[in-house]
Every structure is written in structure tokens, then in C-alpha cells.
Chain length 439, copies 2
């Protein structure tokens, strides 16, 4: 794996060396696949790796904790972009989400202004006015129209934004093509490291780049569970395809991770495509569209797994694969339910091979199953066969559960569909973090 | 409240004195209501308080931890009973659940044999044969037919029962009308105290008694979330009414508590009615039926709250009331979703007035709501009004959240329906308990 290592984006502040080294196996494995597919990961790549994207960040006093207190940032394309977004399914929608959904009606945008530390959610009319003001301030500073600017916020719910500081921060901010890393830091809250990646893809004679950043850590659950994810590409893409490609990529990545079962009012995934790569516009149904989809999937999958791995208090990444389901939707539901079970997560935290909890969670998920057909594996160790317990090699089971990346596999043996979900263990530290978040 | 105190059933081994004293306010309040309704709580009452019910318990080595290691018990009526049961909605059903559903087809039963420490779930055909054998052994010992005996198990999933010990235990067990307390202890696993209660009700000139015991602590979530609950009454009740009354009582009690979001393959609530009180058979639609329902509701509510209060690692009981919903079902869904949110539970553990998480959970529940109409209260302290944050009296908020019983109230201001759910806080101890359950 040595040769892969140089390609791995530098993850700052990993929670522990062990987590960093071992869990990354998943990510490195993924890189191996990527190289086969002629999708190349750009070392140190980020959201400003595609041509014509600029970013910057600053500190305006919204975040009080942490040693890297950037909390306001801007992403801007040099030219107008085709744009698409997916947003929270929570009935409580933060003001910036309402604004984005409105501004994206024409499938166009050119910039995103974002803050962490305050979610601007549950803030009523004042909150919406603040989000609009934020867009207008950024537009003025960037020489754009307010409707070209999208807004995102993350942090404590039920607090108004301090607009004076926001205004000063936007006016004083400088942006550059090197600014992606600072933007990735600026959107974090309880994350222990920023999540960023960029890949380059050959499309015939053209070469396009996709970059992305995300933040996670808490209130993470399938159903547009990103909290925030921003994607940028210099590819020329039709609005119809961009929307579809984003949905497909999110369904197999951000919608397949869970940390604590809570969805946020602020969940947003936004993609901007500025066309500066000079390629022929990619449209649905073409070979180029397939390649673009694959590359976008990889970017989203990497970011989603990074979020799961960096869950609040997490010490392990859990990977749950459900095979032999009647259809993909059922496989997804089953995998997500298991990855989200508090009892499963706690058992894995303690490397307790209490696999009955996995089967109980599977049964609770409600998907079609016949207990007498189910096989369950910890990695390659089968612990349940045809619905019955097998003699348990406790030492081997524990050695698998001790890993920083724990693979669980279930074969329903009913059909051919398959899905994988990612989550993290439930630790005492999760409780500690979340029992003193605002105090 | 002094005069009420003598009526409170003695709760053994409460997790802390503070929890015991303060949370009991809820229970004591309930007793106040009971006294108005001419339903009397029997001091020290349990499942053998109704006439003609005998119980006993013994130790056969299934439980390895704890200082009160009873793990096998029997409940038996002196005469045949009308019987009803409600069971897990988990697609994985433990062997004893399958047996009970079969034996209850005729709405009759006379005894229950139960063990803790081993769930006899995910045990295939052997598991079902073991459950049948367990019923047959108890039947022989009690002079009954196997089909008159119901079986229940709770504990670790995926392990076979040691039938030699089960057989010896059943043969050596003695039962008596004083045996309810030992049976209540024998069904516990990670519970810190047994849950038991009995009430006496005047029905015209007759007097009937209802007793109940339950166990909880983990894998507790709305959807027949009891793990185990056994109810006994000396009232004569028609089979149709008994079934309906059990469903109604469970919907408003056991189905309104949540500890960790996981339902168990073993969840069972069973009621036996032996008619020895000599009353005229109670039938649907009568005044007596209403009184019987009220009394049964109170018994189930007391047991359900005791389970929520004694959740694994719990230090606080959380009571979530949702008012002004369009209908009861929506009010229930909203209340349960909030009571079950890991982030809400962790915040309350740390007395952190981070109320945005409550609103985020409400939004995630998917019930009809208009954010701009929602009011949120910690007890009587309004923290959000008409969808907007109000200036927060942090000291007062903290003093409410510091209580061992934390009341949260949400007014949706859309309709007239209302529901209450109970849960507990999420503590570091929950993680510790569940990361080393089988190791």
C-alpha cells in the first residue's frame, strides 16, 4: 500500500493514530479502485483544485472552542455555474436552506457563503432576512447579484447570526485558488479534521476535475445527512445531468452513513459546475456521463466515509454490507439500520462479539428476510449460519472488532441486491461531547 | 405527598437516591390521580396479589453478574385463565414468542415459565424445540397440559438454553401466593430494581385486583417495547375485551417509552385473567369495562415509567408532551421521536439547554407542523415562541434540567391532540454497560 500513501489527502488532527492508520485501509482500497478506473486522486486536492474556483475564510468569533477557529468562508467561481443542491428532509428547515432552494430554481449559481458555529435555524423571519443579507453582502463583495450566491450555516440551533461581524468578515475576506483548505477548516464544528478531496478524470481528449469538502461529526443520519458538502467541477455539465448525478452520488454515500440518528435542519449538498475545462457539455445517457458519475460517486464516498470515521467520539469506522436482498432499497435500509443501532455501536466500541444485536437490528429494519436463511460475518469469520449460532472463536472475533475499521457482512440469501452503509462506534466521549455542547 | 409515600411500591436498588426521590414525583402524581378514581394501589403489591395466582423463582446459572441472581421463574393460576398477549414487531422472533403466539390462539392459558440470561433468539429449530420442552416440563410439574403454558426468555441473543439446568430448575421450584416478588427479580437482566405493582378496583359491588411485573433496561423502544411484562387479574373478563384492553393499555404506556431505539426479538406483554374475584364477566362497552381499562392503563403506565427511569445508565427520566397536534398518532410519533433522540438525551444528561436539538428531532419526526407556530417549554419555562428563540434564562433552564425528572412540552398549535412519551438521558455509563455486555 506504500505507493498509495502519497495519494491520500492529508487528514489533519485525526482523533488517534490508530484510527488514522487502520481505517484508512478502506480509503486506500478505494484509491486502488480509482486508479483502475483512470480516475486520479490529486495529492492535497480540495474544492479549489478544479479550474476557476477561488475560496477563502476568516474568523468572526462564532466558534469559541478549538485551536483552528475559522468560522466564515466563501467559495466563488470566476464564471457563472450550472448548479444543483440536495437539502434536509427535516420539516424544520434552516433559513439558509430555504434561501438556497429558492436561488437554485434556475439551476444556476456562482458562489457560496458559509459560516459555522451558528446554524441560523429556528430563527423565524429574522433568520431568513439574515441569510438574505449574508448573500447580498457576499454578492456586493464579489461583484455578483444576490441571487447568484448560495448560503449555508452550521452550528448551534436557535441563535441569531451576529450580522455586524458577518458583514465585516465578508468585506475583509480575501479569496484565492489556494483557499480550499481554509474553507474546509472553516465549515467544521466538532469535526477533528477537515474533509477534502479532488480527483481528475479523462473524458475522451478532455480532462476534468472534481473537488469537494464536507463537514460532519454530529446530527448525521441517512436522509441528506451531510450537514454540509460542497462540490465543484470545471466540467461543463447539463443542468439535468448535474442534478441527477448529485442525487445518485448522495444516495450511495452521504445517505448511507449514520452517526447518531439525528438529521439536521441545515443538511445541504451543493455542486457547482463552471465548464472551464472546455469539454463538450456532458449530457445524460452518454459514456462521459457515466464516467462523470463514477468520479462524483468516488468523491462523495470518500467524504462520506471520512465523516463516519470522524463521528463525535468515534474510535472505529463500522462498515455494514447487506447482500442477497430482494432489492437495493431493502439492502440499504437494512445496512443503515444496523450501522445506526446504539446497541450495535456500543458493542463494537467494546469489541464485544454480541452479534445477536446485529440480527435484532436487522429484524427491526422491517426488510424482507427469513431468519433461517441469514448468514452473518465479522469480516471473513462466520458467526451465524442459516439463522443458527455457530461455535464462536472469541479470540478471532475480538481481533476483528479491535480493528479501527470493522467490516460486518450479512447475507440474506433471498435475492441479488447489495448495499453498504458506514457508521461509527458509540463511545463514552460521544456522550461527553454532546452533554456540554452549548455550555 | 407524605401520605402517598406508603403507597409507593418499594423499588429495590434504585440507581441513586436522587433519581428515586425526584423521579418518583411522576409516579406519586399518578397515585394522586388513582386515588380520585377509586383505584387503590396495594402497598407491596405484585403479580401474585390477585386471588389464585402463585409464583416462584430459582437460580440455574444463566445470569453471571449481579447480586440477586434468580434467573428462572413460574407464574401459575389455580384455575384456567382467559389470556391475551402482544409481541415484538421485530421480524426476528425469539422461539418463546413463536410458541406463545401459537398457544394463545384459543385465548386461554394457565401458566408462564420464564428465564433471564438467555433470550433463546436466533436459535433456529433447536430453539423452538427447547421452548416447547420448557413448556412441557413446566406443565408436567404443575399438572397442566403443555398448551396451557406460555414461555418467555430474555438475555443474550444467539445462545442455546442449557436444558438440563432448565429441567432441574423447573422440577425443584416451589411456588406460592407470596412468590411474585421473586419472579419480578428473576426476569431482570441489567435492570437495577424489579418493577412490580398491584391495584384494587371497585366494580359495582365487586372488587377486582390487577397485578403486574416488567423488566426493561435495554433494547427498549416503542413498538411493543416491554421486553417482558406479565399481568394477572382475578377479574372475569371476556376474551375480546381482554385483548382490546391490553392493546389500549400498551399503546399508551409501553409503546410510549424509549431507551435506545432498539426493539428486541423477545418483547412480550401477556395478561392472564382467572375470574376468581367472582364478578360478572366484564364485556366491551360496559361501565365496568371502562373502569377495568383505566386500572389496567395505570398498572402499565407505572411499569413503563419504571422501565424508562431505570434505562441502562440512566440518571434522569425525560417526559416529553406534545400538544396541539392534528391527531393522537402524530402527537405520539413526535413525542417518541424527541424522547428517543441521542442528541436530546445527551444534552439533558449534561443539563445543557440546547433546545434546538428538540426542534430538530421534532422536524425529523415528519409530523405535520408549522415552524412559525411552535412553542417549546422546559417545564413552565418557554424557550421558543412562535418558532423563534426567546431570551434564555440559563440558570432557570439548568435548574429544570438538573432535576431527576425533566418535563419537556411542545405546543404545535395546529389541532387538539396530545400525547406523552418517556425516555431517559444518555450517559457514559450506558456506553460502558453496552460495550461489555457479553464479555
Amino acid at each position: 500500500m506504500g505507493s498509495e500513501k502519497s495519494r491520500v489527502p492529508e487528514l489533519k488532527k485525526p482523533r488517534s493514530a490508530a484510527l488514522f492508520d487502520n481505517s484508512l485501509c478502506f480509503v486506500q482500497f478505494q484509491y486502488a479502485i480509482i486508479s483502475v478506473m483512470s480516475i486520479k486522486v490529486i495529492p492535497g486536492g480540495t474544492i479549489t483544485s478544479p479550474q476557476g474556483f477561488l475560496a477563502g475564510a476568516t474568523y468572526i468569533g462564532l466558534k469559541t472552542k478549538g485551536d483552528d477557529p475559522l468560522d466564515l468562508g466563501i467559495l466563488c467561481s470566476e464564471v457563472p455555474c450550472v448548479a444543483a443542491g440536495l437539502f434536509t428532509t427535516n420539516k424544520v428547515k434552516a433559513a439558509p436552506v430555504i434561501l438556497c432552494q429558492r436561488n437554485l430554481r434556475g439551476n444556476k449559481a456562482q458562489a457560496i457563503v458559509v459560516n459555522s458555529g451558528c446554524a441560523n435555524a429556528c430563527t423565524g423571519r429574522q433568520g431568513l432576512a439574515d441569510a438574505e443579507h449574508m448573500a447580498a453582502l457576499a454578492a456586493r463583495s464579489l461583484g455578483l447579484q444576490p441571487q447568484d450566491v448560495l448560503v449555508a450555516s452550521t452550528g448551534v440551533i436557535g441563535k441569531h447570526l451576529p450580522m455586524k461581524q458577518v458583514s465585516e468578515g465578508i468585506q475583509s475576506m480575501s479569496i484565492s485558488s489556494e483557499g480550499g483548505h481554509t474553507l474546509a477548516s472553516a465549515i467544521t464544528t466538532t469535526d477533528t479534521f477537515p474533509k477534502e478531496i479532488a480527483v481528475r478524470v479523462k473524458l475522451g481528449r478532455d480532462e476534468i476535475t472534481i473537488g469537494g469538502i464536507a463537514k460532519g461529526a454530529g446530527m448525521i443520519h441517512p436522509n441528506m445527512a451531510t450537514l454540509l458538502c460542497f462540490l465543484a467541477t470545471d466540467a461543463a455539465v447539463s443542468p439535468v445531468l448535474l442534478k441527477k448525478a448529485l442525487k445518485n452520488a448522495v444516495d450511495a454515500s452521504f445517505n448511507m452513513i449514520t452517526i447518531d440518528g439525528d438529521t439536521s435542519p441545515n443538511d445541504s449538498a451543493i455542486i457547482l459546475a463552471n465548464g472551464l475545462a472546455g469539454n463538450k457539455v456532458i449530457r445524460s445517457g452518454s459514456t462521459e456521463a457515466e464516467e462523470f458519475q463514477r468520479a462524483l460517486n468516488e468523491v462523495c464516498l470518500y467524504l462520506a466515509k471520512s465523516i463516519a470515521q470522524d463521528g463525535e467520539g468515534a474510535t472505529k469506522l463500522i462498515q455494514v454490507t447487506v447482500e442477497g436482498a430482494l432489492n437495493v432499497e431493502q439492502a440499504r435500509i437494512a445496512a443503515r439500520t444496523i450501522a445506526g443501532s446504539s446497541l450495535v455501536k456500543a458493542a463494537i466500541h467494546g469489541s464485544d462479539p454480541n452479534w445477536g444485536r446485529i440480527i435484532a437490528a436487522l429484524g427491526r429494519s422491517g426488510v424482507d428476510m427469513q431468519e433461517s436463511k441469514v448468514d452473518l460475518y465479522f469480516d471473513k469469520l462466520r458467526v451465524m449460519g442459516a439463522g443458527c449460532p455457530l461455535p464462536l472463536d472469541k479470540k478471532r472475533a475480538k481481533s476483528i472488532l479491535d480493528r479501527a475499521g470493522v467490516p460486518i457482512r450479512i447475507c440474506l440469501n433471498l435475492g441479488k441486491a447489495k448495499a453498504t452503509a458506514w457508521g461509527c462506534d458509540l463511545s463514552e466521549e460521544y456522550v461527553t461531547i454532546n452533554s456540554e455542547y452549548t455550555t
